[in-house]
């Protein structure tokens, strides 16, 4: 008889686990419903490219060029002119208050300069306290403004080329935002959703056995730590796979996320990522003595990984020590992989180092879990 490992015994544990999963309707619904709900909620709610941002206009004259410029800015959808300020000071106050995100100043000599061909200027001041909010509005600015001006002058598109050089759009920003792609959030959500459900559910799974007293029985029967671990881990790997499918399909159908890279590469890295999460959850459950403790430990891990991984805030915006800290979270590496593969079409070589990191996590968590697992009740 094989003392250390038996597939028959592992099979017994797996069957038991799946039956329990099926019986626990609420948890089962949560495993499938939560990812979809979160994706829809966050996918629509978190918008790094906001439109209709309140804007104040400081226009010194009311000529046709100024009007053309204002209507062109409004047409982009980014600017919503809520205020017409009489002075720069008034506009400044509006921004300080947070009433507007932008102040557009068109100088009094704007029309004169256009007609003289003397490189006219407009000034856009952006409230860069939330850098990502303003970046989309600013990026479209230059082109839109030039075209509007040309149309107002009645020029043909062909003649536009050299005239384009004329207009100077001056943007004042407090600091440079990291260029956040508008599709950034959904691939990131894949990692966050997986992390939340996988870690927590596995962490609870083993402590539930301890809490209900079934662990004593499980230990009194011939089952080895490796069997018990795999018996807990594999079912959640299957749940993770279903979640991944749900999120990816929804990403495509609901949000039209472009999918540039290799699906195989993405799915293989997802597999490694989920494995590391499930093993982390299992490690937590070898430490926690109650489900409540398991939950607390999960959150203790969850929040910093959310904040430091680059999901919520630009990774490169963090100080060096925080970046080093960020490296110890599997989510950090997974975010780089998904963003690279889904949006940039990166190949294996480009993400090999990150996948390597995830594999290190898998090995470390599995080792810790097996060492920490109490084969006895001591």
């Amino acid at each position: 008889m094989n003392a250390v490992f038996s597939f028959a015994r592992l099979g017994a544990l797996l069957i038991k686990e799946f039956i329990q999963m099926r019986r626990d309707r609420i948890t089962f619904a949560m495993m499938l419903g939560v990812p979809l709900m979160q994706l829809v909620l966050f996918g629509f709610a978190i918008n790094s490219d906001p439109k209709s941002l309140p804007t104040a206009l400081v226009a010194m004259s009311n000529d046709q060029y100024t009007r053309a410029m204002v209507s062109a800015l409004q047409m982009t959808g980014y600017y919503r002119f809520d205020y017409v300020a009489q002075s720069e000071a008034e506009a400044e106050a509006l921004m300080a208050k947070g009433a507007v995100s932008f102040v557009v100043t068109i100088p009094a000599d704007f029309a004169q300069r256009v007609e003289r061909g003397d490189s006219p200027q407009i000034l856009i001041e952006a409230d860069a306290t939330d850098p990502s909010a303003a970046s989309g509005a600013i990026s479209t600015l230059s082109k839109v403004a030039s075209q509007a001006l040309l149309r107002a002058q009645g020029m043909q598109a062909a003649a536009a080329e050299n005239a384009k050089e004329q207009l100077q759009v001056i943007v004042h920003q407090r600091y440079n935002p990291e260029g956040i792609s508008q599709y950034n959030i959904v691939p990131g959500l894949l990692g966050v959703i997986l992390q939340m459900t996988m870690v927590m559910m596995t962490a609870m799974a083993l402590t539930r056995e301890t809490e209900r007293g079934t662990m004593e029985n499980l230990l009194a029967m011939p089952s080895s730590p490796a069997e018990i671990m795999l018996g807990k881990v594999l079912p959640f790997l299957v749940v993770g796979a279903v979640q991944v499918a749900v999120v990816l399909v929804a990403a495509k159908l609901l949000f039209g996320i472009p999918f540039v890279g290799s699906l195989t590469l993405l799915l293989s890295s997802v597999l490694v990522f989920v494995l590391s999460l499930v093993l982390l959850g299992y490690t937590i459950s070898t430490m926690a003595r109650s489900q409540m403790q398991a939950m607390q430990l999960t959150f203790f891990f969850f929040l910093p990984s959310l904040l430091l991984s680059g999901f919520m805030f630009p990774y490169r915006g963090m100080p060096g020590w925080a970046q080093v800290l960020g490296e110890i979270f599997p989510l950090t590496h997974f975010l780089r992989i998904t963003r690279a593969v889904m949006l940039k079409g990166a190949d294996f070589n480009a993400v090999a180092a990150e996948i390597g990191w995830l594999l290190v996590f898998v090995a470390v968590f599995a080792g810790t879990a097996l060492l920490r697992f109490r084969r006895t009740l001591d």
């Binding site: 015994r9 069957i15 038991k16 329990q20 019986r23 029985n217 006895t376």
Partner: protein, 311 residues
Amino acid sequence: MNVIDVHGLVKRFGDKTVVDHVTMTVAEGEIVGFLGPNGSGKTTTIRIMCGLLTPDEGEGTVLGFNIRTDSLRIKREVGYMTQKFSFYEDLTIGENLEFVARLYRLKPVSEHVARTLEELGLTSRRDQLAGTLSGGWKQRLALAACIMHKPKLLLLDEPTAGVDPKARREFWDEIHRLASGGLTVLVSTHYMDEAERCHRIGYISYGKMLASGTVEEVVRNAGLTTFVLQGPRLDRVADALQGSPGVDQVAPFGATLHVVGSDKKKLEAALADVEKEHKGVTVNPGETSLEDVFIQFMSGSKDNMAKDSKG
């Protein structure tokens, strides 16, 4: 060969010695009762024997396997029924048994499960969730699950707590049937009637084994004398006798009063005037019961779980 042969077992949790040099032997086919008050170390001793806990001191074998090094093999040959119901409440009876059958690698699974269900009269409840069972049925399921792999030794930790008398009777009939088939049983209990159904008993208190042997031996070796008092207003007699020299226990039993003491002469002296002082009361020598012996043990042993007031 002794099925259980352990000596000098010591287990400490922190600075509390829960099992204190316990020595025990159980021969094949014996039913041995393990008695003692709550928290006396019964469960811990049983857990050490089935490999769930490692003793701090002491050696021994269970079924010939070393309890320190061979716990995996012991687990395969022993059936252990936990004090608290520890099967899956969200699984049906059938599913629980199938799970256990697969863990012990019994083949074919369905045949073993069907036979076990049949033997314990559980077939009609096969598809019922374990969580919805009453205490008696849960206990029956737990017993079924731990004898399915045909263990050579059964360790039962207070198996009949919270079970009605009829189910208790049936349970014990089942235990005796299994023992007659060669199975060895170690069972912990609080009930005196159950203790009397055992071939031998061991009494443990605060981690120490205080007495062991057959019920008769334990009663005889305790060296207690018992008198039975009958008559009117026995409560007054009880109050009068309480605390008298030589009187260790005064306990009402229905319409009678049992007076127990370890020193026969002193006890007789204390009772000499009772018949004169209380009209209509008669004093007769009586049989010392197992319960009298246990109460004597309990009041005599010191509580090492309590905080030491000196320091």
